[in-house]
């Protein structure tokens, strides 16, 4: 497979701060892929949600997120307005220069930009005792700080579609297996040459993090690897980790959960790498019929 010339993709523009603008043909491809994932989600009658971009830091703290992933997190910040002089200081100061904003005092930071789409569900359903298993789906604009960015492959801001199941262990285990089979079948139709590989989450200082050691000892994450090194999606069997962290019960017992995640921009990259930059060669019918 040859290297993509991103300037040749109709409707595509890379922004070097780790984001992509989409319009025209590539936006159509993006929408069709997401519609395909939604169709996959509908096999489980998954209920669709829209979530806003912020997550309260107090909620992520329940997952020990700041210890596990400090390198990935992005915080929305605002100038402190409690002291009126602070705004004056800002407006009278250099405000902007050398490619960056010269902030004065910032207000306390209590929120984070969404790092993964499915977190919203565990927060939304916390402290509930479910009587039926839940099947859910959402697409979220996710934010992960990285040391470097690459168009459609490694972005600060990207779209993640997830299908989530929360319920009893056997049901959730069956959900993961069923969806892995469904996704494998779709991938075969698109001829992307994906392999499934066991993976761990990208922990900070992994060897001193019990959660990483646990993932190593008892693998719960399987990634769809394109072109030998790019993960375009994953299945994640969380066991009762989120159930315990957010006190979600299923008929009185701690609930189990799992999710199937698709990175939309990475799917665009896989399709374009495989089929070229000319939209006439993209497998739109296979995707739309998917």
């Amino acid at each position: 497979m040859s290297e993509i010339k991103f300037t040749e993709i109709p409707g595509y523009k890379w922004i070097p701060n780790g984001q992509s603008n989409l319009s025209g043909s590539i936006l159509e491809l993006f929408k069709s892929l997401d519609a395909m994932f939604l169709k996959i989600a509908s096999a489980a009658q998954a209920r669709e949600f829209y979530f806003p971009p912020f997550i309260q830091a107090a909620e992520l703290n329940k997952l020990d997120y700041f210890k596990s992933f400090p390198h990935l997190i992005t915080f929305p910040v605002a100038l402190d307005q409690n002291d009126a002089k602070n705004l004056e200081k800002f407006t009278e100061g250099p405000r902007f220069g050398d490619g960056k904003v010269h902030l004065t005092e910032i207000d306390k930071v209590c929120d984070c930009l969404t790092p993964a789409a499915c977190y919203h569900f565990y927060i939304h359903f916390q402290n509930q005792d479910l009587q039926e298993p839940l099947h859910l789906t959402t697409r979220a604009n996710c934010f992960r700080r990285e040391l470097y960015y690459k168009p459609l492959q490694r972005q600060w801001s990207f779209n993640m579609r997830e299908i989530v199941c929360i319920g009893p262990q056997d049901h959730v285990r069956g959900f993961v297996k069923k969806y892995r089979d469904i996704v494998t079948e779709k991938l075969a139709k698109l001829d992307l040459g994906i392999s499934w590989e066991v993976a761990t989450d990208p922990f900070f200082n992994p060897e001193s993090n019990p959660k990483f050691i646990m993932q190593q000892l008892d693998p719960v994450k399987h990634e769809m690897i394109f072109n030998k090194d790019l993960s375009i999606g994953s299945t994640n069997f969380h066991k009762d980790y989120f159930g315990e962290s957010f006190n979600i019960k299923y008929q009185g017992e701690t609930a189990t959960s799992a999710c199937i995640a698709f990175g939309l921009e990475r799917w665009l990259f896989a399709i374009i790498t495989r089929y070229g930059t000319n939209p006439a060669h993209w497998p739109m019918k296979e995707i739309q019929n998917g």
Binding site: E207, P210, I213, M214, L217, D218, P219, K239, D240
Partner: protein
């Protein structure tokens, strides 16, 4: 050097002391410790130290294979099997 049975029983007693999720009668050498979450991730970190203490040497965390801490039997096979 402790016998196989002594090492496994030491590990079994350690699990019973640390975990509130299993009783003496329920816990055998082939009981699944992770799948059933008898042991949490923090327990596993402590258990690694305990295994190192019994064995008398440290081991490379990166080299631990999936499944090594599934049961007391698998812990014994992974870290003591060839030495006793």
């Amino acid at each position: 050097m402790k016998t196989e049975l002594e090492i496994k029983e030491t590990l079994r007693q350690w699990v019973l002391k640390k975990s509130k999720k299993v009783t003496d009668a329920e816990l055998s050498f082939d009981t699944h410790l992770l799948e059933t979450r008898i042991l949490s991730s923090l327990h596993v970190m402590e258990l690694i130290l305990e295994v190192e203490k019994i064995k008398g040497s440290k081991f490379n965390l990166k080299a631990i294979k999936p499944g090594a801490f599934n049961t007391i039997d698998s812990i014994y096979a992974s870290f003591f099997g060839s030495a006793t």
